[in-house]
């Protein structure tokens, strides 16, 4: 208490001028003339549209990466006051004046600039000399591909930043482990490791490889800790728990947080709505929510519904029928029932309406009170506009001859009786007496006579079927598949006795609103699943390359070209750095194997601490390179040179390690004679 009155307040500042200087040149190189060119450069056209969506708070779905990276870019736009009004349609388009180019590019540039002093710190924490550390930082500084990538509205520099941050904070943590475990700085660096890993994964999925690497090193260290018999059991347990919380629990929570913020920001419906389930769409402002607002929750006999296929591949669509019949004879000579076509139609249409009918009664209206339909009930489905009943029978479907044709029944008096009873099977039911609910229930229709299941085969019908998608009765159903599952999207209780009046009567009974019912975890898991499974057409690109081209720098990308002056930006690495870094990796691997074999025969070329330092540097730098590079060989997507940059950043760090080791150990005769 009041100690500061007795002693003077002393602030001891310990400033490493190397770091300051490196930060300064890093900032200078990355920020200088940042807003040039005032035109869309390469993938900015791609990220830009998502920034616009964030600014307008419109929901979108992007399969390329988790939302954190996009949100960071959008933060730049937010700070610069961007309103999102720009048409991102073509590389090279001039930015209009409302686009704050400088602030949009600021965050990636800062991330790129800060990577320079971080490289220095990593080397230092690994136990190498200041000289090696400055060397590593300078190499990162002058690598022109890193500069190019940092100065634009792209995510690689952000990813590299978080990768390096994760490694750096883990090193700081493990160095403070020796002296002051459980001190505030120990906790800080441990937590920061987890958060940085999570940010890396949140920026791009490939960040997960760095995360796994850090986890692997941490696990090796922890295993060693378990073997340390000077520590008590409780102590060891505390250590393990702390690590588990910081490196496993926190990253998951932070990752969820990204999605939480993402979904909080994007609350309006937009162009990608259709990919999502009805329940998800209903949680967005506008779009489906406007339609489904206040519609009755429980489907009853007499309900008018539209039925959306849950799988929705190749396109989301609704069960549909229309006046046209199946052609008597198909092109390949097979016959059909010549009854009314039933298809799946990807657009909203009045012909998508069906009425749920009780087979025992004739009327098509909802009783008062409504009689809800439950799991296991037998229903008929009446097509609203033609009042024909959904039917299937033992006739081969037009395009999938192994399945049954589905039609709306027309009685031709040809001894082909109607088979129009369907048993309702609620897939996501909680009990066997569940009520069929709008939007929320996923249902299958099992045909009573043949036990076929109503299924979207996904094949587009020929001209006679107006290229709508084929719907079949699947006899050999094998387990759960989305294409056999449907959900009610639009729903109203039918009131009109007459066919003419049967349209346009909406009643809104006091019901709970289905739309707000979806929990965050449900929305998260659906969004994450869709993001991982959304298919981008694997297109060949003029500048695409294979992983083998990257090491030899056999490829480059033209980012931007001024139409008149021919000024251009070209992504190309510094061949000297690339070649020497690759060479360093090779030398490291050879030396490592050599030392390892010699140690096994009890020949210790290196003192123990030197060997540990050498091994840890290799595990992080060479390992970082390998985990960020090798997985690309297994990936089937279109690859570009910039995918190599995270691996390169780690590989560059290895170069001063090897140089210092070689000059210190092998080239110096003094050292070699001392052993």
């Amino acid at each position: 208490m009041l100690g500061f009155l007795q002693r003077p307040v002393v602030v001891t500042a310990d400033i490493n001028l190397n770091v300051v200087a490196l930060t300064a040149v890093g900032l200078l190189s990355r920020l200088w003339q940042l807003s040039y060119p005032r035109a869309v450069v390469f993938d900015e056209v791609y990220y830009g549209q998502y920034i616009s969506f964030y600014m307008k708070r419109i929901f979108f779905l992007d399969g390329s990466g988790p939302p954190f990276g996009h949100m960071l870019l959008a933060l730049g736009g937010y700070l610069g006051g961007f309103d999102g009004n720009f048409l991102w349609n073509r590389i090279g388009a001039e930015y209009s004046t409302n686009v704050p180019v400088w602030s949009l590019r600021l965050l990636p540039a800062l991330a790129g600039a800060l990577s320079v002093p971080m490289a220095y710190q990593i080397m230092w924490e690994l136990g190498f000399s200041h000289c090696a550390a400055v060397g590593a930082a300078l190499l990162i500084l002058i690598e022109n591909s890193l500069i190019t990538q940092s100065r634009l509205m792209l995510l690689e520099s952000v990813l590299i930043f978080f990768n390096l941050l994760a490694v750096l904070s883990y090193l700081k943590f493990s160095n403070s482990q020796k002296h002051r475990p459980f001190s505030p700085s120990w906790w800080f660096w441990l937590m920061l490791t987890g958060v940085a890993c999570s940010c890396a994964v949140g920026t791009k999925y490939v960040g997960v490889f760095t995360y796994l690497l850090v986890l692997g090193v941490a696990a090796a260290h922890a295993w060693h800790l378990i073997g340390d018999q000077t520590l008590s059991n409780v102590h060891v347990l505390c250590h393990l728990l702390a690590r588990a919380v910081a490196l496993l629990v926190i990253p998951v929570l932070v990752y969820l947080l990204f999605f939480y913020v993402h979904l909080l920001l994007l609350c309006r419906s937009g162009p990608h709505d259709q990919i999502m389930s009805s329940a998800f769409q209903a949680s967005l402002e506008g779009g489906l929510a406007r339609i489904t607002q206040g519609q009755p929750l429980e489907v009853a006999y007499g309900s008018q519904v539209t039925l959306k296929n849950v799988f929705g591949q190749p396109v989301p669509c609704w069960l549909h029928s229309h006046q046209s019949t199946y052609p008597m004879i198909y092109e390949n000579g097979r016959g059909s029932s010549h009854q009314q076509q039933v298809t799946c139609y990807p657009f909203k249409d009045v012909n998508n309406w069906w009425i749920v009918k009780d087979p025992g009664r004739h009327q098509l209206v909802v009783n008062n009170p409504p009689r809800p339909v439950r799991h296991g009930d037998i229903v008929q489905l009446v097509h609203g506009m033609t009042t024909r009943l959904l039917n299937t029978h033992d006739v081969a479907a037009p395009l999938s001859p192994h399945s049954q044709e589905v039609s709306c029944y027309i009685d031709y008096n040809v001894s082909m009786p109607a088979q129009n009873l369907w048993r309702l099977d609620i897939v996501n039911r909680e009990s066997d007496t569940d009520v069929w609910k709008t939007i929320l229930s996923e249902v299958r229709f099992v045909h009573v006579n043949t036990s076929a299941i109503l299924k979207l085969s996904g094949a587009p019908l020929p001209d006679w079927g107006f290229r709508q998608l084929e719907v079949v009765g699947e006899k050999l159903s094998r387990g759960y598949h989305g294409s056999t599952v449907w959900n009610v999207e639009e729903h109203r209780y039918g009131r009109s006795q007459e066919q003419k009046e049967r349209e346009l009567e909406l009643r809104s009974p006091a019901q709970m609103d289905a739309s707000r019912n979806l929990s965050f975890m449900a929305r998260f898991s659906e969004l994450q699943w869709r993001m991982l499974t959304v298919r981008s057409d694997d297109s060949e690109h003029k500048y695409s390359s294979t992983p083998l081209d990257w090491v030899t720098l056999d490829t480059s990308i033209a980012y931007w070209l001024h139409p008149r002056t021919s000024a251009q930006i070209h992504l190309l690495g510094n061949i000297v750095i690339w070649a020497s870094a690759s060479l360093a990796t090779l030398v490291y691997a050879l030396l490592f194997v050599w030392y390892l074999l010699r140690r096994r025969r009890r020949v210790c070329d290196l003192p123990e601490d030197c060997w540990l330092r050498w091994a840890l540097a290799g595990a992080l730098c060479a390992g970082g390179w390998a985990v960020n590079y090798v997985p690309f060989f297994l990936m089937e997507k279109t690859l570009f040179l910039y995918h190599y940059l995270p691996a390169l950043a780690f590989q560059i760090l290895l170069l001063p390690v090897v140089l210092e080791h070689v000059s210190g150990r092998l080239c110096s005769p003094l050292m070699s004679t001392s052993f």
Partner: protein, 750 residues
Amino acid sequence: MPPAVGGGLAGSELRPRRGRCGSQAARAVGPDVATEATARSPKRPAPSSRRFEAPGRWALLALVTLMSFATRFHRLDQPPHICWDETHFGKMGSYYINRTFFFDVHPPLGKMLIGLAGYLSGYDGTFLFQKPGDKYEHHSYLGMRGFCAFLGALLIPFAYLTVLELSQSLPAALLTAALLTFDTGCLTLSQYILLDPILMFFIMAAMLSMVKYNSCANRPFSAPWWIWLSLTGVNLAGALGVKFVGLFIILQVGWNTLSDLWHLFGDLNLSMVTVGKHLTARVLCLIVLPLALYTATYAVHFMVLNKSGPGDGFFSSAFQARLSGNNLHNASIPEHLAYGSVITVKSARMAVGYLHSHGHLYPEGIGARQQQVTTYLHKDYNNLWIIKKHNTNSDPLDPSLPVEFVRHGDIIRLEHKETSRNLHSHYHEAPLTRKHYQVTGYGINGTGDSNDFWRIEVVNRKFGNRIKVLRSRIRLIHLVTGCVLGSSGKVLPKWGWEQLEVTCTPYLKETLNSIWNVEDHINPKLPNISLDVLHPGFPEIMLEAHMVMIRGNSGLKPKDNEFTSKPWHWPINYQGLRFSGINDTDFRVYLLGNPVVWWLNLLSIALYLLSGSIFAVAVQRGARLPAEVEGLSQVLLQGGGQLLLGWMIHYFPFFLMGRILYFHHYFPAMLFSSMLTGLLWDTLLRLCAWSLASFSLAGHVHALGILSLLLGIAYSFYLFHPLAYGMVGPLAQDPRSPMAGLRWLESWDF
């Protein structure tokens, strides 16, 4: 001890050595512990001395083998029709008997053995094996089924011996044998003409011989050591020669060998020369020998199959020239291309096929509505094209005109012989590869427009301007757009008859996709010249066969909206495979694991991970275990570790595979998982018995546990045996069916 932080890597490097020493100790200790423990268990025919031990073991082995053969050969002839993939592998066996060349995505050994078995058992190769359900009638099929069942039956004694060697405990081995004997899945898979029993036989044989040679480690370079080591190599070659998944057992043996060598290398009592000898012995037996055998199977394969058959089109022109009956065999065709020649054009990329067109149009919405141009793997009249001059439509075969050869750089027109349309390209996007241009057939009777003109170029031209049949590698460059004719290798949807897409690519990067060669060549005005230059060497054919197989394998992609089996389905026995029959009147066989066995396996893996990590942590913490527990923990960590590794290696890679997967891919992994179960339960029950030693009933815990497991498994087999031996009558979803109560999962559709 190095300091705690930063020492993890060194620690992980030091640990295996400690482990190895421990394992030797376990080997020394193991048998005594085992005999001691078994001697205490009264339920076993307790052998009081070693004199009775050996005959007892042999009798037990004989019993296990007998049971296994009895279950596998019971009702082997049922059903007397083709089941499931018998249609492929039986057919391929017939091809060997008939010596006709075919193409398959798997290496040849398995099918060769099936063919051999058929040949020896009097099957004449005349049955067509057209589709599942076809009756065999008078054709002798039992030889082939019997051969597969024989190998399948041997799996069980192999598993028995492997577990016995790893755990030194008869109850563990017995439990493993029971798990596998009474598993309906293994049983079903062993009873038909399939590659899987052969593959599993080689995998288990390799595992057994590896374990055996490990236990000979204290007598290196002795005769048994050499025998087991080289047997391991032989079986590795066998496994790889049947299916490429044999690679997994190679990985496992490789891992085992590396850790073994690492251990030897760290033993300072051994001189470097001795270590070198060890290394050489392993390189010889585990690399050179398998490679030689593997190559030999291909040599036999190519020697036996010397007649032209359905697989020709998958291979290059040079390859086909080897096959008698192929039109390139001892071919004599005009050597240089001339105007008016009728030719087929083949892509240089393997397994892409011939440039093809047919009288169907591209559907609406996909480029221009003109005639389709594709590549097609089979020989067909629609593969024929006529070379014409770009500017005249006169018949160049008019005898009054002189022969005019096509030269490098000429502008030509390719007219499709059957439909008289010209090869055509234009600025419309190609159907699948959107950034390429569409290629179509255009024009009527050879009259089209300037988009039909192509410049023909010879790649790597050495001398001369003429274009040689077969040997010149040519490119066709579209004159108007400047793009190059190529095949993307992508499969067109149904409207394109699932042939491969042909595009015109604007990217002029030189790839095999855009290189073609002329194969057939008909020109009555030119003299035929015998072409016997085309004799590729054995390494070339071997390489080509592998490329074609790899492409074939990666081409097996699941289609949209199709129910496919996912790897996570397998260990939980989520869904089986219909081997035969669908309706209630059919004789139905359903490949499904015995759920009791499979779920026990699943539980055991979880239990193993738990108990294994408890022991590992205890050892790492330096806890002092009593001698008996120490021995058991070594069995668990060493032996169990190897089996767990086997399970993981044979299971997890499937998650990375893009090709279409089936339930039966899991069975090799299932073998390892069952062995682990046997070993684990025996060890756990022994531990239980040990910890309860103060109670009077303690001795019975182990025996009772093993006995109840054995009986439970046998009873579950009694319940589920109709799945394997066949059933007729209502389906299980029908409550009248005797199987109705056994449909424990809704996804089982038997």
